[in-house]
């Protein structure tokens, strides 16, 4: 072909400063675009802060430890939206409306589209993280040091990457109309199932706890909790493996999909060796990332205790640190016997521990009353049973009256010093009951105080009947660390019931 010799056709690359200007220009435009899109910017920037204030401040009443934990969880929640929505929804729209093709035809510097979007997501994440840090410092007494605040800040800013990759994948596949729905379907359940809203122990079905290591938000939140000295699950190495694996996997698949559709994120290559090489590399990356994810999921189970509880653990006693999940070591293995009192020996006592004794809510400021006594004529013709009777008051929000048993309790020390009993080999708590026809509950308290204890409801009718509590199905029951078993009621008014032949099998 004829080439105009007057023109210098070899001027190929932009000067360094112009190239930098092109990248910076794209980053600025990307951020401007997103910040001017209220449907994106408002929920992304303010929901994590709002939820932190609601869950971490309003609900916890400024409890420093609890609020610190929610600070970590909401921070991770905040890293999810910028990547998922910023990539997923915008990319799908831009692909559908020809903007991506236009960019492709323009001399856009290679990778700048992805880079600009990624930095936009990081910038959003850094605003969210800063907002949460400011709230934590001003509204709560959370023990957040400058060093851990900075660490958490970086965890959250870098933590956007796996979500960017997932968003990129959705954006490469979904239509502009479908993308917002798909992203929301991923976003909210994933946050919930990763334990960002409630600790995972509160999920009733263990399958969801088993599944948690599949979600990048789970891994990220464990890293953040660990950095803040809170209890976490799984090794840090496994979390990094999983996060890197998820990022690489979705990123590679998405870039491949787009390139198949003629959108080359890093510039087009001539067909031939280079393309074959890059496909081969992509396949290798996919395999490596799957291996990383498997490693990450496998290593995500065992519990790492909170740093704050080590002193208590060394003392060999459970620390009643309010709200934190088991800061404590596993309890003492339960004695062989399955019998927890049959009341025929003239006592309400169990062969070990402290109880059964009357319990009310007076120490918490309540006005409920309760008393226990032996009655003659127990279930199935036995000699005696125990009657529990009293009145539940209305002075506090969560009143309680009934009877309790502390498996590791003793009279010489106090509640704070008592440890836990390990009932992890047992499946069922059984007892006979009759009473005034009202509803009652069995309640288990472990190292977690102040949260919702594990509960099981039953009705005490006129005739003796057996209640069997499936221990392993109870949500949030840590069978390795049982501090108290209670039977009673939270319903205001008088009550009366009898129990007999209590067993844990």
């Amino acid at each position: 072909m004829s080439v105009d010799t007057m023109t210098n056709y070899s001027t190929s690359s932009l000067s360094g400063s112009r190239l930098l200007g092109a990248y910076l220009g794209d980053i600025k435009i990307e951020f401007t675009k997103m910040i001017r899109t209220p449907a994106f910017a408002v929920p992304t920037l303010f929901f994590p802060a709002m939820f932190y204030v609601l869950f971490g401040v309003v609900m916890q009443g400024g409890d420093p430890e609890a609020s610190l934990q929610i600070f970590a969880r909401m921070g991770v929640f905040g890293t999810m939206a910028p990547g998922l929505f910023g990539f997923g929804v915008s990319l799908a729209f831009e692909r559908e409306y020809g903007q991506l093709t236009f960019k492709q035809a323009l001399p856009t510097p290679p990778g700048s589209y992805l880079l600009a979007r990624m930095l936009m997501a990081m910038l959003f994440a850094s605003i969210i993280a800063t907002l949460l840090i400011v709230l934590a410092v001003t509204l709560t007494k959370a023990p957040l040091t400058a060093v851990s605040a900075i660490k958490v800040f970086f965890i959250e800013v870098l933590g956007v990457l796996p979500f960017c990759a997932m968003g990129l994948f959705v954006g490469s596949a979904a239509s502009g109309q479908a993308a917002p729905a798909i992203v929301n379907i991923i976003y909210l359940p994933m946050a919930f199932l990763s334990g960002l809203w409630f600790p995972l122990q509160y999920l009733k079905y263990p399958i969801f706890q088993e599944m948690a290591p599949l979600w990048p938000s789970f891994h990220l939140s464990q890293i953040a909790l660990h950095e803040l000295g809170k209890e976490s699950f799984g090794s840090m190495g496994s979390h990094f493996c999983a996060l890197i694996g998820i990022t690489l996997l979705f990123f590679t698949i998405a870039v491949r999909r787009l390139s198949g559709a003629g959108v080359h994120m890093f510039g087009a290559r001539r067909p031939g060796a280079a393309v074959r090489k890059s496909r081969l590399l992509g396949t290798a990356v996919i395999f490596v990332s799957i291996a990383l994810i498997i490693a990450g999921v496998m290593g995500g189970h065992e519990k790492v205790p909170a740093v704050t509880s080590t002193v208590a653990a060394e003392e060999g006693a459970g620390s009643p640190v309010t709200d934190t999940q088991s800061a404590a070591p596993v309890g003492v293995t339960a004695p062989e016997t399955t019998q927890l009192a049959n009341f025929d020996g003239g006592s309400t006592a169990v062969s070990y521990g402290l109880g059964w004794i009357a319990a009310d809510d007076k120490t918490r400021g309540g006005d409920s009353v309760s008393a226990v006594k032996l009655t003659s004529g127990g279930a199935a013709g036995s000699k005696a049973a125990m009657e529990v009777a009293g009145t539940v008051g209305t002075a506090i929000a969560y009143p309680f009256a009934g009877t309790v048993f502390f498996p590791a309790g003793d009279t010489r020390t106090g509640f704070e010093k008592w440890g836990f009993m390990d009932y992890s080999k047992r499946k069922t708590l059984r007892f006979q009951v009759r009473g005034d026809g009202q509803d009652y509950l069995v309640m288990f308290i472990g190292p977690v105080m102040g949260g919702i204890p594990a509960m099981y409801h039953f009705t005490a009718g006129q005739d003796w009947k057996e209640v069997s509590v499936p221990l392993r199905d109870l949500a949030s029951l840590d069978l390795e660390r049982v501090k108290m078993v209670g039977i009673g009621t939270m319903t205001a008014g008088p009550f009366r019931f009898e129990i007999d032949d209590v067993r844990i099998e």
Partner: protein, 309 residues
């Protein structure tokens, strides 16, 4: 055509499944010319342009842009692009959009100069999303020219513009050409092609079927139409040799003929009262219809022949 070739396709073939979008298409764009690429929908215009823009690769044959593979970013730094359908971010302002694109080029025009040149001052700070269709096209045109391109690809540039905006757009296009910029214009608006193009290329079924200056293309149709008001009965005129068609509309005759001169002579001789005489040569529209119909007929006869070169 004079001077260098800036962009070319050489025997380019592109298939999408069973459909052959480009069938050995060869074309070139010279320096300083406005080339109009015409063809029905699906004729292969977009595929040809997409290959020249590096968005697609030909299955066989060659594409070059400034002597380089069109997928080379260095080649694309010398072109400006206005696509037909592109949804830009509604939240951004025209000034920002133009500046962002300028950043990609070696020595772009000053953004303010582009805004002034296209009289976009009043729109520059409004959100793109609130602009009318024609205003959006003007902004897109600004984005196409802001990089000081040597070659400009314009796809249906004036769609949605009002008459005023369109004529100023044409003026800028002519100015750019005077400044040495080459332009590839894809359009359905043959009036636009007629007004702007130095050279016209007609594509049908992925092949080049005609190429030449606007005058050359128009001359494919040698028929002329004589308009007049005559006292002679229509049937008399219809019987004259050389008259191919005759219509009467609002008392005005339209006589279609290959031999306008002898028909005119007969009219003037036979009717002393004849008035309002006007002779029109076929326009690009008629030529385009003729050329593409002939091509269709040729394809229909299994010939698959190109009508003209």
């Amino acid at each position: 055509m004079s001077g260098a070739t800036l962009a070319s396709l050489n025997a380019a073939v592109k298939r999408f499944g069973k459909i052959t979008a480009l069938d050995q298409l060869t074309l070139s764009v010279g320096k300083g010319e406005i080339l109009a690429l015409l063809g029905h929908n699906g004729a292969g215009k977009s595929t040809a342009i997409n290959i020249l823009l590096g968005l697609q690769r030909p299955d066989s044959g060659h594409a070059e842009l400034f002597g380089l593979d069109p997928q080379e970013i260095a080649a694309r730094r010398r072109i400006g692009i206005m696509m037909q359908e592109v949804g830009l971010s509604p939240a951004l302002k025209p000034r920002e959009l133009i500046r962002q694109v300028s950043n990609y080029y070696h020595s772009p025009y000053d953004t303010e100069a582009v805004i002034k040149r296209l009289s976009l001052e009043s729109l520059a700070e409004r959100r793109y999303g609130v602009l009318s269709g024609g205003q959006k096209r003007q902004v897109q045109f600004g984005m196409a020219i802001c990089g000081r391109p040597e070659l400009l690809f314009l796809d249906e540039p004036s769609v949605g513009m009002d008459v005023h905006a369109r004529s100023s757009l044409w003026e800028v296009i002519r100015d750019l050409r005077r400044e040495g910029c080459s332009i590839v214009l894809t359009t359905h608006n043959l009036e636009e092609a007629e007004a702007l193009a130095d050279r016209v290329t007609v594509i049908a079924h992925g092949k080049l079927v005609a190429s030449g200056t606007v005058d050359q293309i128009r001359s494919y149709v040698s028929r002329k139409t004589i308009f007049c008001k005559s006292t002679l009965p229509a049937d008399t005129i219809r019987a004259w040799p050389g008259v191919e068609q005759l219509h009467e509309e609002l008392g005005r005759l339209q006589i279609v003929t290959h031999d306008a001169e002898s028909i005119l002579r007969q009219l003037l001789n036979g009717d002393a009262q004849v008035r309002d005489i006007e002779v029109r040569r076929a326009g690009l529209t008629e030529a385009f219809v003729e050329i593409t119909n002939a091509n269709q007929a040729a394809n229909g006869n299994g010939g698959g022949q190109e009508k003209a070169r």
